[in-house]
Amino acid sequence: MPLVEIHNAHKSFGSLVVTDDLSMHLDEGEALGVIGPNGAGKTTLFNLISGGLAPDRGRVTFDGADITGVPAHERCCRGIGRSHQIPHPFVGMTVFENLLVGATFGTGKSEKTCYASCAEVLERTGLIAKANVLAGRLSLLERKRLELARALASDPRVLLLDEIAGGLTEQECLELVDTIRNIRAEGISIIWIEHVVHALLSVVDRLIVINFGKKIDDGDPHAVMNSRQVQEIYMGISAE
């Protein structure tokens, strides 16, 4: 049974169709990559899974249960963690407190029992040296790490990463890939939207391609990258 499944989801804003009869699934323990041009509907896909948006038609299931009508905060408690494309740090709280929010509300445990797990996540994500710094004072890389760390603190079964490598230097990107690989090795399933394709390909088992709200390819990452349709979308090569 897949961990996350979307059945024929449809979403439009007025006349703009952002998700068009899209179906997909993620197996437990799998790392799935999502690519597609800007405006293709990738972040909308994440919003459908995490609960930021409700589909006009179609269903979303998690661990076998229909969660289409479940609010976002409860989906987090059930095990869906996400990072935002544009970091949303709690700027007036310290890095440690940012994690505490995810840990206490995402797991339902008391605050004190979460201290140790938060410190551990800070160590794993390389933020321990910034534990008591206000999140508003972090650099871009640190903010991206914080997005990741905060979602991890909520003890997710699946982690949705939205363009977490964008805007980073090569070295920063390598470090991040390393962190994500470790997270995966702990058994957390991952769906990763990314334009930095080489980073993505070094982690994921499977790749799906979205364009104009439709899924146009799904399969082995390298086969998908070499497919004609993907080449057309990205390189503008005509099919003839």
Binding site: S50, G51, G52, P71, A72, H73, E74, C76, C77, R82, H84, H88, P89, F90, V91, G92, M93, T94, V95, F96, E97, N98, L100, V101, G102, T104, F105, G106, T107, G108, S110, E111, K112, Y115, A116, S117, C118, A119, E120, L122, E123, I128, A129, K130, A131, N132, V133, L134, R150, A151, S154
Partner: protein
């Protein structure tokens, strides 16, 4: 890499003990007003206390939950009228009517919230104002409560507080002091609890808090109802001191919300110390300038504009940033148990 078992967390800071001492000294000084001051000083201190309490509640709403209400006068008025209705028509003892007013305001906050919570930002602000006007106009229609011209507390009700005038004033004074201390204490306790984490998270980013498991709606509703209940209590105390209530005064936007916003903004929004500093500054300005008539309001406006431009975080915000002061620390700092901090100060 250090074992995570060796970490501990504290909220205390270097300055928090100094702050606590200062606060205790302040409370002691005000509590001893009957010893060092006269009747008018006591009235002034009670007024100081209820403005401080109102400011703490507004700061909790606007500074933490992001609920910029300009309709808190609704709950002052409801609390005041709850006192009058319950004592005059139901024979409730006035001191019991104070917590009852809190319950009434808290219950009426629920349907009010159902309406105004559908609105966002500026529309929410206007919505709360409209709701307060609805309450004001409704009470002006009730002829048994004196309609638009209002009503006085009957002498037997007043006497049931205490038989002599000085004893009554002492009772109101004591409740005022407790109210100021309790409202500050409740906000501090709330912010140090897990609700505080949720509230601060909501203040900084609603989409992020929701996706980390915080029930934004429930958290805001809790704060709205709590603030309404305490504001209702304050309203009842105000009108127990004034003895006379009328809709225009009880639901006054200027008296119970505009001045309160001024206090919080100049003191420092989103900090517990802000309302305290703001109330002190407000009372100093009022004592020196209130003889100037309409110039007084213009001066207040000028002070507000200058502070918003020069110190957008308010007087306390500037001081706290410059000297790293945290009199009411709510920040959770992570330490290694060997005493080293893992990473920088905030």
């Amino acid at each position: 890499m250090a074992n995570t078992g060796t970490y501990c967390v504290t909220t205390a800071t270097r300055t928090s003990r100094i702050g606590l001492m200062l606060m205790l000294a302040g409370v002691a000084f005000l509590s001893l007003t009957p010893v060092w001051g006269g009747r008018s000083d006591m009235r002034l201190v009670v007024e100081f206390c209820y403005f401080l309490a109102l400011a703490q509640m507004w700061n909790l709403l606007a500074g933490y939950a992001g609920l910029v209400s300009v309709g808190q006068q609704a709950f002052v008025g409801l609390g005041g009228y709850a006192l009058f209705v319950s004592t005059i028509f139901m024979g409730v003892h006035p001191l019991l009517a104070l917590p009852l007013a809190a319950v009434v305001a808290g219950i009426l906050a629920l349907p009010t919230a159902l309406i105004v919570f559908r609105l966002r930002g500026a529309y929410f602000a206007i919505g709360t104002w409209v709701m307060a006007e609805v309450y004001r106009l409704s009470f002006a229609q009730v002829s048994v409560l004196g309609g638009g011209s209002g009503q006085s507390l009957p002498i037997n009700v007043i006497k049931s507080v205490a038989s002599s005038r000085s004893d009554r004033e002492l009772v109101v004074f004591a409740i005022g002091i407790m109210l100021a201390v309790a409202s500050t204490g409740i906000v501090w306790w709330l912010l140090r609890s897990r609700h505080g984490l949720a509230l601060t998270a909501i203040r900084d980013s609603e989409p992020a808090s929701e996706s980390l498991g915080v029930n934004n709606f429930k958290t805001k509703l809790l704060v709205y109802v709590l603030a309404a209940a305490i504001t209702g209590f304050i309203g009842a105390l105000i009108y127990l001191q004034k003895f006379r209530i009328a809709p225009d005064a009880a639901f006054s936007l200027i008296d119970w919300t505009a001045y309160v916003i001024f206090i919080v903004v100049i003191g420092g929004i989103g900090r517990i110390e802000g309302p305290i500093v703001g109330t002190i500054v407000f009372f100093i300005l009022r004592e020196f300038l209130s003889d100037l008539g309409s110039w007084y309001l213009m001066m207040l406006g000028l002070v507000a504009v200058v502070i918003m431009l020069k110190a957008p975080q308010g007087i306390w915000g500037e001081l706290a940033n410059r000297f790293d002061l945290h009199f009411f620390p709510v920040q959770r700092r992570l330490y290694r148990s060997d005493g080293q901090t893992p990473g920088g100060s905030a």
